[in-house]
């Protein structure tokens, strides 16, 4: 590993891009490990948060690749415990957001994160269509995307009995404004809300492997 590459924030490496887009510097981290100690899902992750930061600090392309293809970035709950306890206030939640978006754009999404990504997309689909989240629509779309058709079927009648299932989608909730917002924000970033199709980076990666 060359000395110039290590710790560089002005090259074209991932840590430089993070710095450019989020104004967060991974070099601030001195590996105290508080983020990993406080992260509720550190033990379920392939790389706990402090490991991800160390990998980014080293600036090696092979490690950048591993970060983008990690399950960790998708398991992250955005609970913000890491940054709350970080003595250097490294904005990990913001870095995680950037890594997810980059992983999606470059088609590196970890296959084990398929459901989590499908859920996020189904959520945004529902909001784009009706301006507000329609929970029944969200679950229906999620099932279509993942084919987990039987999951939670027993919960539905119980929710119905408690008056918690709203079958009809919400009406007139700034629908056209919200569609415009989606249109304008995803023009620069079309991978975000597109439906599952052959151009889906997730699927492409699975087909390649």
């Amino acid at each position: 590993m060359s000395g110039s590459r290590s710790g560089s924030l002005d090259g074209s490496g991932l840590s430089a891009r993070i710095h450019h887009f989020t104004n967060e510097s991974v070099l601030e981290c001195y590996q105290c490990g508080k983020c990993s100690a406080g992260c509720p899902l550190a033990r379920d992750m392939d790389f706990p948060p402090s490991y991800l930061l160390r990998m980014l600090q080293l600036g090696m392309p092979v490690l950048d690749e591993q970060v983008l293809a990690s399950l960790s970035i998708w398991l992250c709950l955005t609970c913000e415990a890491c940054v709350a306890r970080c003595p250097k206030e490294v904005g990990l939640p913001r870095i995680m957001d950037f890594l997810r978006q980059e992983s999606l754009k470059l088609g590196k999404v970890n296959p084990k994160a398929k459901e989590i990504l499908a859920f996020h997309r189904s959520f945004l689909d529902s909001v784009r269509r009706t301006g507000r989240l329609h929970e029944v629509g969200l679950i229906a779309r999620y099932k279509m995307r993942t084919l987990h058709l039987l999951q939670d079927v027993l919960a539905a009648p119980k929710m119905m009995a408690r008056g918690k299932l709203r079958l009809m989608p919400p009406r007139g909730a700034g629908k056209s404004d919200v569609r415009k917002i989606f249109h304008r924000t995803s023009a620069a970033d079309p991978t975000v809300t597109q439906p599952l199709s052959s151009s889906d980076p997730q699927r492409c990666r699975e087909e390649q492997s």
Binding site: H120, K164, F182
Partner: protein, 303 residues
């Protein structure tokens, strides 16, 4: 007091009892709620995870609507919505270059005049303003106040002052006659958005929270977030399977506990809508212990 009201999507569906109880207590606390017309979803975790600009634009439209309605305050019951709205407001205030860009996306001007207020903060104000004098049936129970993530983090926009041991909900509970317990899982994450995709992880995380509350003698868990409620209540079956133990402790929205103390009807507060039935001991253990002590003291005096 006139307040803008942004219910958020869950309160129209799975968390409708949070909306019902909030609307029920509002007149008693002299809150005049004015629902924001034509509001949209804040985008929640999904939007900021997948697209930064979208994650800012959706909450920005809500803030701009509130501003154009001339509202000084926007009351938000859902902690996740609160987090998105407050974070967006802060980011747009700090990043001057970003503001015109977002204004263009939402086709609305945004100066950041409207304050975002979480229900907890509004209740704190009520507690400091004579809530105790309005009680009909003080909520004499031992409660575990569960704050979760977004009431306490990030600290710069959080509605609670202390990140690791917040006291705001505890103070509201004390004001209605309850006894908040000291416990270890106040600000731990319940598993949040993985509720559908990774039930196994949610059962693990929420299970630890429930178990600690029960071990320390709480009779109810009090929450102020629809996501926390659904993970602790709707996912109770998965939690019990994960921990191989039964837990009957109910989970109440803070507005429901306040409503019960104000003497409102359980039905009006939507208490019947929970998955875990809300059965609270007539007199709490603590109160019973106090009673006995008093009796003993009294008895001794008589002797």
């Amino acid at each position: 007091m006139r307040m803008g009201f942004f219910p958020g999507c869950s309160l129209e569906g799975s968390a409708r009892e949070y909306a019902e109880s909030l609307r029920a207590i509002a007149p008693l606390l002299e809150w005049e709620l004015e629902e924001l017309p034509d509001w949209n979803c804040c985008g929640a975790t999904a939007a900021h995870c997948l697209n930064h600009t979208l994650g800012l634009a959706l909450p920005a439209r809500i803030l701009a609507l509130a501003e154009s309605a001339g509202l000084e305050e926007l009351l938000v019951p859902c902690s996740a919505c609160y987090n998105r709205l407050a974070a967006t407001r802060q980011e747009l205030q700090q990043n001057v270059e970003l503001r015109p860009k977002i204004s263009q996306v939402i086709e609305m001007e945004l100066a950041g005049r409207t304050n975002v207020v979480h229900v907890i903060n509004a209740l704190t104000r009520a507690a400091n303003n004579g809530l105790a004098t309005k009680l009909k049936e003080p909520f004499r129970h031992k409660v575990a106040c569960y704050y979760g993530c977004y009431l306490t983090r990030p600290l710069s926009t959080a509605s609670c002052k202390r990140a690791e041991d917040p006291q705001e909900m505890d103070d509201v509970m004390r004001a209605i006659g309850a006894e908040p317990i000291d416990w270890a899982f106040k600000v731990e994450c319940c598993g949040a958005g993985l509720s559908v995709t990774r039930v196994d992880l949610v059962a693990e995380l929420s299970g630890r929270i429930i178990d600690d509350a029960v071990q320390r003698g709480a009779e109810a868990i009090i929450v102020a977030c629809p996501m926390c409620h659904s993970n602790l209540d709707l996912r109770r079956g998965a939690i019990q399977r994960n921990r191989r133990r039964r837990y009957s402790i109910p989970v109440l929205y803070v507005t429901q506990a306040v409503g019960l103390a104000l003497g409102l009807d359980r039905q009006a507060l939507g208490v019947h809508r929970h998955f875990v039935p809300v059965r609270l001991p007539e007199v709490s253990c603590a109160a019973r212990a106090a009673l006995t002590r008093e009796d003993v003291v009294h008895g001794e005096r008589e002797l």
